[in-house]
């Protein structure tokens, strides 16, 4: 059944992946173009990458984006993991339905609405807009993604391990740190990475909630893209793609290695 693959399936795979990757590939290729015109090839050059290094506006925006991303992803992972534990371990508590709704709604909520509502909230509580408001906004919308990732892991998790620990007298906190977290950490790490890249990418919510001195990289890219396609933007985008791609490939390989090791250990245990 799985040994051979039909022509139809090969065609749909090739077509699907070509569609997914060709646009990104052209963007990367043209970032190495010597010409200032993005669509005319004039030979290989890394001039735009060197130019980038001297573009202070872009560098500052990159630094803001990185700080917002690191901070918001970390807090979002903490809150999102707590929410995942609450939703998957406690079947009954006051307002559980409301909490489920508040976790799933932001996943599909159009960004303009999330952005607008958070901005009006920050204005209502009279909070100065800038780095902190963008960070708070990013925590709120990324924590829901963390919750979904961690929750799906918690649901497939063998709960008898937790029960055993608690029956042996471990407190819930000790059980969490000694039993649950060591087993679900790949999901928590994946949640952190997802939150970090979502924060890195976000244009709309950041545009609404930002203030003076807190221009993020997507906002900078957006304002330049509106003026036209430039090889310099291609270069920034290529660097971002390279960072994200490396992260995803490394995590996938680590996960695969872990699964292989786990399977081997299980075989050994069964053999013994």
């Amino acid at each position: 059944m799985t040994g051979r693959i039909s022509k139809f399936n090969v065609v749909s795979l090739v077509f699907g992946f070509a569609f997914l990757y060709l646009p990104i590939l052209t963007l990367v290729v043209y970032s190495f173009n010597a010409s200032k015109l993005v669509t005319v090839w004039a030979g290989f050059s890394t001039v735009w990458y060197r130019e980038l290094w001297h573009n202070r506006g872009l560098m500052e925006a990159a630094w803001v984006t990185l700080r917002v991303g690191l901070l918001s992803a970390s807090v979002a992972t903490l809150l999102g993991t707590m929410a995942a534990i609450a939703l998957s371990r406690y079947r009954r508590f006051f307002g559980r339905t409301l909490m489920t709704g508040m976790v799933y709604a932001p996943l599909v909520m159009p960004e303009v609405i999330t952005g607008l509502s958070l901005l009006l909230f920050f204005v209502a509580i009279d909070m100065d807009r800038g780095f902190w408001t963008v960070t708070l906004a990013h925590i709120s919308f990324t924590m829901c993604f963390v919750t979904v990732v961690v929750q799906s892991r918690l649901l497939t998790f063998d709960r008898s391990l937790e029960d055993a620990a608690m029956d042996l007298g471990a407190t819930p906190t000790v059980t969490l740190f000694q039993v649950t977290l060591p087993l679900i950490w790949p999901a928590v790490a994946a949640g952190w990475m997802l939150a970090f890249t979502l924060s890195l990418d976000d244009l709309v919510i950041a545009s609404f909630t930002t203030g003076p001195g807190a221009t993020t990289l997507p906002m900078k890219i957006y304002s330049q893209v509106r003026l036209g396609v430039t090889p310099e933007i291609n270069a920034v985008c290529t660097i971002l793609i390279a960072i994200v791609a490396t992260g995803v490939v490394v995590t996938t390989l680590l996960n695969k290695r872990r699964l292989v090791r786990q399977a081997r250990d299980e075989r050994l245990a069964a053999g013994a």
Partner: protein
């Protein structure tokens, strides 16, 4: 409210059992449970629910009162009654009276629906091909689908500008092989929006469908084949119905955000195709009319609330 309650009774007797045992343990009377529930709960109420209620409140207030620097009128209960009297539906009447908004809503829903269908047409064969690929390839194929999903939305939309421009790569290619003689105008038309949405949301559709197909019991197809069913009939009577849950989840994941999409219509659609996400943006940033922007947003949520609730139910049931 009835849905999760029923589920507890039928589906998770073991969990109920564990909870009873947990309740008997002295340790569980500690702070763990209240903290784990309350902290994320309060955060979501404070930064998701309350902001949305503020949007509703501002959508009901007068433009002049709510223009920046707009004064919040919370806190003092004695002002609540007068604040209540100031509420008006003027902004909603304004939206209802202007064809521009109506057209933008209809156009957004139509574009979202059509591109959801197009995404499905590309994603399904892709997911199907992945599920039929040799197991050794699958991790790699899955990673290849997930990778663009992690890559910046803005960057992926931007990549299409250089391709679709009149002097762009697509036209260069088509003209050099002689298919066309005059460049096609694709950028700044609805076609470019379709391409942008299908491209950006393809992983959201592919992943749930693949998850469904991957879980499927392949002996069912073999049984159908053994009993003389042609492959195409086996697909429509067995495979497709079994993957329907993934299809529905994928459709919601594409349709709902696409209806409120801002970046794609703004960068690829040009100024003549006005979708509702862009209308909110323009009302807010260009016209600086916060109450009308809020009202447009509230109406959009009201339209999307049905698909959002269905999506939530489905997710909660799957969880």
């Amino acid at each position: 409210m009835g849905e999760p309650g029923r589920k507890t009774e039928i589906g998770s007797g073991r969990q109920g059992d564990a909870e009873v045992r947990a309740a008997r343990r002295p340790a569980s009377r500690g702070l763990f449970r209240p903290v784990v529930i309350a902290v994320p709960y309060l955060w979501l109420v404070g930064l998701f629910l309350v902001p949305f209620l503020i949007v509703i409140k501002i959508s009901l207030s007068q433009t002049a009162v709510a223009m920046p620097p707009y004064r919040p009128t919370f806190g003092d209960p004695s002002t609540w009654w007068s604040a209540l009297q100031q509420l008006s539906f003027d902004n909603y009447l304004w939206i209802a009276g202007d064809e521009l908004y109506f057209n933008a809503y209809v156009l957004s829903l139509a574009i979202a629906a059509a591109s959801t269908l197009l995404t499905l047409l590309i994603a399904y064969p892709l997911a199907y091909g992945m599920s039929k690929a040799p197991p050794a390839w699958r991790t790699t194929l899955l990673m290849l689908v997930i990778l663009p999903f992690w890559t910046s939305f803005l960057i992926r939309v931007y990549a299409w500008i250089a391709i679709l421009k009149p002097e762009g790569l697509l036209n260069q290619l088509l003209m050099s092989i002689g298919v066309i003689h005059d460049p096609l105008v694709i950028l700044n038309t609805p076609v470019a929006i379709f391409i942008g949405i299908v491209y950006s949301y393809l992983p959201f559709m592919t992943l749930p469908i693949y998850a469904g197909l991957d879980r499927m019991d392949h002996s069912l197809i073999e049984a159908a084949a053994d009993l003389g069913s042609p492959p195409l009939k086996a697909f429509w009577t067995i495979t497709f119905p079994l993957s329907l849950r993934g299809v529905v989840a994928g459709c919601f994941l594409v349709f709902i955000p696409a209806a409120g999409e801002f970046v794609i219509p703004d960068l690829l659609g040009g100024s003549r195709t006005l979708m509702i996400g862009k209308t909110v943006w323009l009302e807010f940033f260009t016209n600086r009319d916060w109450p009308v922007a809020s009202a447009v947003a509230v109406v959009l949520v009201a339209i999307l609330v049905v698909p959002i609730v269905i999506f939530q139910r489905q997710q909660a049931r799957a969880g």
